[in-house]
Symmetry: C2
Subunit: 251 residues, 2 copies
């Protein structure tokens, strides 16, 4: 059965406006339209790519142990450019990023994490509390990159399409951008850790963001101390992965 296949007009003639970046071989300007550079304007994926893509999913980790080595200049911007290829409801692109660089601000966030983490620990008892206390749940002091991510609930972009009955899809769009960033970072050996043990109101206050921005995630990024193909929480004995079959019903 024939497909209609459509590449953006002009894709075949596109010439990079900037030097090809060493990592991905695409133009490094985030604002240039990020369309395909395939020779025939159509993407093809083969068994080898699928095998490696599965490896990428397997080796993605929630990283809490970072080297202090900084990222190469420009790499974070490139990764954020890739993350903006994520889907967004109504093409609203509601992701807002804050690079947290000021040491005093990082310190306030870290203190807030420690307060929230102590509160979480206080809700546990016995062996579970002891195990929780031994876990390392964030790499805030070592990670060279701190990135706070917000969802702009005030954006007019997208004209509200797709989110009248489910406004939370705006937040979900930002989550897919974070996940894209996560996978893209891993392809260049950069680890990402999602810190969720934070009070959103406190983080928004510390970072002084517009009132209609909702806090979505606080990310640590940097080169990981080690690479693993299984979750650190599994190694620590906190929880185990289970198969997906038991989570599938039919109606």
């Amino acid at each position: 059965m024939p497909y209609r296949r459509t590449a953006r007009p002009g894709a075949l003639q596109a010439t990079p406006a900037h030097p090809i970046h060493a990592y991905w071989g695409w133009t490094s300007s985030c604002s240039s339209a990020p369309y395909s550079e395939e020779m025939d304007g159509l993407a093809r994926f083969d068994d080898e790519f699928r095998r490696k893509f599965r490896e990428l999913l397997i080796w993605r980790r929630d990283v809490r142990r970072f080297l202090r080595t900084p990222l190469p200049p420009g790499l974070l911007d490139e990764l954020l450019g890739l993350s903006s290829l994520a889907p967004s409801v109504g093409l609203s692109e509601p992701w807002r990023y804050i690079r947290v660089e000021t040491p005093a601000v990082r310190e306030r966030i870290t203190a807030e994490f420690e307060r929230a983490n102590a509160a979480a620990l206080s809700g546990l008892t016995g062996d579970r509390a002891a195990l929780y206390a031994r876990l390392k749940l964030a790499g805030l002091r070592e990670a060279p990159v701190h990135l706070a991510v917000f969802t702009d609930h005030g954006t007019a972009k997208g004209h509200g399409l797709g989110r009248q009955s489910m406004p939370e899809t705006l937040d979900y769009s930002v989550v897919t951008a974070i996940h894209t960033l996560w996978l893209a970072a891993r392809t260049v050996g950069v680890g990402l850790g999602w810190v969720s043990i934070l009070d959103p109101a406190q983080v928004s206050c510390i970072l002084d963001v517009p009132g209609n921005w909702s806090f979505t995630a606080y990310l640590c990024m940097g080169y990981p101390e080690e690479e693993m193909d299984f979750p650190e929480l599994e190694r620590a004995g906190w929880e185990r992965r289970t198969g997906v079959e038991q989570s599938i019903l039919t109606r």
Copy 2:
């Protein structure tokens, strides 16, 4: 600087318990631990993989125009197995899938979409309303696969870790699984469309799910009528993508 690199013990000796699947070259049992089959137990990603990974992001689409061709037997289960490699807060794995196959149930969901879509249209006026009315926003009648996705807020898995101050991270975990499914599907030419123009309470009622399951997404899947490297909403003149730079602040 030396990394400590860790592959799961036994990864080197792992032998597939089932025939290698034609698409990804991994064992088709979802319940077998999905660890790396790399020869040295460590994943490597090169420029060619990164280039193709970017192509994958570029060619992922929110698909609304499907062929009626069914998926090959077993493919959806394989894709759901891959989706379970997504991150989840505290390793809670809160994703719950419902394959909606009964024609009468699909019809009720489609009617509910049409009702919610008419309600959304009624909030618009003028040119924007006319443009909205022309958009095709779901492929519910053609897509061979209907998949409803829920978040289990009653799960004990993960022991609450990471979600005391941000319970919404449970929903966010499910969103990363959906995004993983989306990308994995695209690697085998299968399109996915996320239908959010639905009332969560109505969908939960129609599908008769446990009370602590929260509706996250309704997905259509199947082979797309056409492939595009830019959003359908952009082609239709609804909205345009913009660069990510203006969404990055520093503190």
